[in-house]
């Protein structure tokens, strides 16, 4: 079957999707069961981009073969080809894929002003699913020769240049181009690869840009200005162009991707780009604000949609294996150890961290090792979210409409749009969150690191299928939505946490569920408790914060809302926001112990080797 032929959504019964990661290719099968799309089987196999295979499709076929074996449905024919369309107990109707193999999409971006056009260019690249290796701007505090030196050291897959508003000055953006062209950044894919340059700046500068890059060695692509005016950011065309170039150039140079592209029914997407797409689809569909996080071994991605505006950041060196040592260096050991309630030897911990860095595939065996690893994860997530908040801002340089009260404010845009009080849904994915032995641990990692305020749903991506659903949403939105709701998310529960601070032991808020029929009580500042509320259950919550505390309706004002349960339940958190732990180590340890006991975070575990067989 030829790829990317028009699909009639009503005739689709079986869908196969793969995500080709750097180490593992993960495949899922989605089937229409009783008229509803459900994820039914999964399989995985090592990714085969590198030698001796050097062909990504080998791993794809292996992962799909695993599904074939567990489902009993014949998916691959004798020639190793995916059987399409589906008929009886054979084949599938759609096959789609995402990819982050070979290090994903690596870009360099440039703009004139770091906080304006360069920031917009970075947003476009990140939104398209790229890793931004560096951002060059006229005011980035580096001297021109230092910028050139940096450009020469990088080996990007493509470069995105922005700068200038339409009809404005052309000189500055041309200067930036004149720095990049002679520096001749070397692409990753060898000497025959013409480095793609995407220009999305001032339309008047196009002839000059054409002149600068016309001398050879570059493949210049021109698209609409991503910042046509100071007040407006227009990232769509630049993101689309990045995606096109990714397919035409980057993917075409990766081993076996020409074959993979020819067998998919929709263009292959970079994995993080697909995750961003599904989160946006959900946020818009439900009219909510959402944050998603994916913490991996090397990097942590944070995605957010607030009032319809999407942002993504990649914290390149915050991760739980390859980058664990960097988390400890950035966060500092005292910050990590404040989350630990038992004695640990710091010198030994430092050596353990380095041993995890050099042998990244090991897993914690003892409870002590798990507690420490989750403490590191809290700090990695906290730092990644901090970086995200600093990046996800209103447009800088834009004069805001002001009230009399703002008269003395000198701000001209650039405030973060991330508002934890407005946050409705927080979604977790990535090993340390997904594979935590207890869902309570996942929920508390999210709460401690992200500090949601007011009332927030907590969920986790069951088997990291958001990338598959992201690309599926481009060809079959209904199937993507149905699977997301039913199989992708596991709801952990709802967090209720007032904003404000007080003295320990003083009242913080009172609450009742279903007018007291399912419980009621009061929490003092510093306390936390979990109320049972099952996975498919909802209840009417009425919560009255004490004076000075806010649950979203204003300080001291009662909030009534339907809340949803989950595998953990309703988490009532009266530790205040911003969350602060006592500075004195002994008091801090007592506070953390209190939380661990209240939430039953680490119930007594069996000694290693005496565990029960499954």
């Amino acid at each position: 079957m030829s790829a990317q032929t028009p699909i009639n959504p009503d005739s689709v019964n079986v869908i196969l999707a793969t995500d080709c990661g750097s180490t593992t290719t993960k495949a899922i099968m989605i089937e229409r069961v009783d008229g509803v799309y459900r994820q039914t089987h999964r399989g995985e196999a090592p990714t085969t981009v590198e030698e001796p295979f050097a062909n990504v499709t080998v791993g794809v076929i292996n992962a799909l073969t695993e599904i074939q074996e567990v489902s009993g449905r014949r998916l691959i024919d004798d020639d190793g080809v995916i059987i399409r369309p589906a008929s009886g107990d054979e084949g599938c109707d759609i096959y789609i894929s995402t990819s982050s193999a070979g290090g994903g999409l690596q870009m360099m971006v440039a703009g004139v002003v770091r906080e304006m056009t360069a920031a917009s260019a970075k947003r476009a690249a990140l939104g398209a699913g790229a890793i931004v290796m560096d951002t060059i701007a006229a005011n980035d505090r580096r001297r021109p020769h230092e910028q050139i030196q940096r450009i020469r050291e990088l080996r990007p897959d493509m470069v995105l240049i922005s700068g200038g508003t339409d009809g404005g000055d052309t000189k500055k953006v041309t200067e930036i181009a004149e720095l990049i062209a002679p520096a001749k950044p070397r692409p990753r894919f060898g000497k025959s690869y013409e480095l793609p340059i995407i220009f999305a700046g001032n339309t008047d500068a196009r002839p000059e840009i054409d002149r600068v890059f016309g001398s050879g060695g570059f493949d210049l692509k021109i698209t609409d200005n991503l910042r046509p005016s100071i007040e407006r950011e227009h990232l769509g065309p630049a993101r689309d162009m990045i995606h096109d170039v990714f397919l035409e150039h980057v993917m075409a140079h990766a081993p076996g991707y020409d074959t993979l592209m020819s067998i998919t029914d929709a263009p292959i997407m970079p994995t993080p780009g697909a995750v961003g797409d599904i989160l946006q689809t959900i946020a818009r569909g439900r009219g909510i604000n959402a944050v998603g996080v994916d913490i991996g071994g090397a990097t942590t991605d944070v995605f957010s949609v607030f009032d319809g505006t999407f942002n993504r950041t990649v914290s390149a060196n915050l991760g739980m294996s390859y980058s664990i040592s960097n988390v400890c260096a950035e966060a500092t050991m005292p910050s990590i150890l404040r989350w630990v309630h038992i004695d640990m030897n710091e010198r030994e911990l430092r050596n353990r961290v380095k041993n995890k860095m050099i042998r990244p595939t090991t897993i914690p065996q003892s409870l002590e090792a798990l507690i420490f690893e989750q403490a590191v994860a809290r700090e990695a997530l906290r730092l990644a979210y901090l970086q995200h908040k600093e990046f996800a801002t209103t447009l800088k340089g834009v004069q805001q409409q002001r009230t009399v009260g703002d008269t003395f404010s000198q701000e001209s845009g650039g405030e973060t749009i991330v508002d934890n009080m407005k946050l409705d849904l927080l979604v977790a994915s990535g090993g340390v969150l997904s594979h935590a032995p207890r869902m309570h641990q996942t929920a508390m990692l999210l709460i401690d690191a992200f500090e949601p305020e007011g009332i927030t749903d907590l969920a986790k991506d069951s088997i990291f299928m958001m990338p598959h659903l992201g690309v599926l949403s481009s060809v079959h939105p209904r199937a993507a939505m149905e699977v997301f709701e039913r199989d992708c998310l596991i709801y952990l529960g709802t967090c209720v946490a007032p904003k404000g601070s007080g003295k320990p032991g003083r009242p913080c808020f009172s609450w009742s569920l279903d007018s007291g029929a399912r419980g009621s009580g009061e929490l003092a500042f510093g306390e936390i408790t979990v109320v049972e509320l099952g996975e498919d259950e909802t209840a009417e919550l009425e919560a009255k914060p004490a004076r000075g505390f806010d649950l979203g309706a204003g300080p001291g004002k009662t909030v009534s809302r339907t809340v949803r349960g989950g595998t953990v339940g309703l988490i009532l958190d009266a530790r205040g926001r911003e969350l602060s732990l006592p500075e004195d180590p002994e008091h801090c340890r007592q506070a953390v112990s209190g939380v661990i006991d209240a939430v039953d975070l680490y119930p007594e575990a069996v000694p290693p080797g005496e565990g029960s067989a499954d």
Binding site: N317, M357, Q365
Partner: protein, 374 residues
């Protein structure tokens, strides 16, 4: 029979090794197929474009960018010397002229009428690739480099810092579980690959640097000592470019840990022989571990033995536990239960039982062992 797969480091008394020696950009080869090369033989070389120095002449002369070509004293393609005038404005009534001097020597590459920016390209930078491994050139990659082959004793370390170097093997520790202290390093080890036993101290490395040792190889190192040596806390294990005066290779891991006995015995047996070592480590997709290569003679002299690359884990296979609470202990696989078990952490994982050298049997997750040779 129960089997599983797990990665391990290569430790081989004799194995055929191919060193791919390639230039970063196309260039000229200095050797041909069949040539026999030494470690420091230059096998390929090229010239990289020189550094670029930009200069905004329009700003410096307070002139319009479009007028710059008329104000230039040097044209595109001209050679310029540092501090040589390259542009001059017309001044006021022919007086008060100001000049613009070249900030660097090189060739004037471009003059931009759009921005008034001038680019000076410096001298080309020579790039040379040495053989690193003594042996025979078995393959030529036109304009790129060569493949050199030899039969070697191969030891992969777990982590290293510093780049390529070579020298004779000198044993500082007689036993595999002996700590490498400063007092064990002396002047006779100048230019040598010094082999320790268990953990190497920062004082020993400082002494080695002072004496002019080429590389230190030992079982373990303390994180705090590594920080001392580097001058910063290493965040990500991508190394090889550090300039610390010598190369350091750790064979087992961080902390008080002995070098595997077989590794130590192999190095001891080759004491005095010339070795090529590289500390470069990259722990990401396409993992790269530090290596010690000691040629054993003509290719084909002996068969490859002891490579653990296959990664098959079965009953009796020697393994090393690579995570606490049994970190560093060595034993053999006693059983490979099929069913996952609940660990002390509460996680469920597939496990194996290891019979330790002490006779004790411990249960550990399969992900926390690696294969070793005995």
């Amino acid at each position: 029979m129960a089997k599983a797969y797990t990665p391990g480091l290569k430790v081989a008394a004799s194995t055929a090794y191919q060193a791919h020696r390639v230039l970063p950009i196309p260039g000229t080869l200095r050797v041909a197929a069949g040539d026999v090369v030494e470690a420091d033989t230059i096998v390929a070389e090229t010239f990289m474009d020189g550094d670029i120095t930009p200069l905004n002449v329009a700003n410096l002369l307070s002139a319009q960018p479009g007028d710059i070509p008329q104000l230039m004293l040097k044209q595109e393609g001209d050679a310029v010397e540092k501090d040589e005038p390259i542009a001059r404005n017309k001044g006021v009534f022919g007086m008060f002229k100001s000049e613009c001097k070249a900030p660097a020597s090189g060739t004037l590459e471009t003059i931009s009428k759009a921005t008034g920016q001038v680019m000076i390209r410096g001298e080309s930078i020579p790039v040379q690739v040495k053989a690193f491994l003594p042996g025979k050139v078995t393959e030529v990659l036109p304009e790129e480099g060569v493949v050199i082959e030899n039969q070697v004793t191969l030891i992969q370390g777990i982590f290293g810092v510093g780049g390529e170097t070579s020298g004779p093997i000198a044993m500082a520790c007689d036993r595999h579980d002996q700590r490498l202290e400063a007092s064990m390093v002396d002047e006779s080890m100048q230019g040598a690959i010094v082999v320790g036993g268990a953990r190497v101290t920062s004082e020993a490395i400082a002494r080695a640097r002072e004496v002019g040792v080429a590389a230190v190889v030992s079982g373990g190192i303390d994180d705090a000592d590594l920080k001392d040596i580097l001058g910063y806390d290493l965040g990500v294990a991508i190394t090889g470019t550090e300039r610390i005066g010598l190369t350091v290779i750790i064979t087992e891991g961080f902390g008080d840990i002995s070098m595997a006995r077989r590794t130590h015995d192999l190095l001891k047996a080759r004491s005095g022989d010339s070795a090529s070592v590289n500390g470069a480590t990259q722990i990401r997709a396409g993992v790269m571990r530090p290596e010690i290569l000691i040629p054993v003679g003509d290719a084909g002299d002996s068969d490859s033995t002891g490579s653990t690359e296959s990664g098959v884990l079965e009953l009796g296979t020697p393994v090393r536990v690579i995570r606490d609470p049994h970190f560093g202990l060595i034993g053999t696989v006693a059983s490979l239960p099929e069913a996952p078990q609940v660990l002390g952490s509460g996680s469920k994982s597939r496990v194996l039982e290891v019979s330790l050298e002490t006779g004790e049997v411990v249960t550990v997750p399969r992900a926390t062992v690696e294969l070793i040779e005995t």
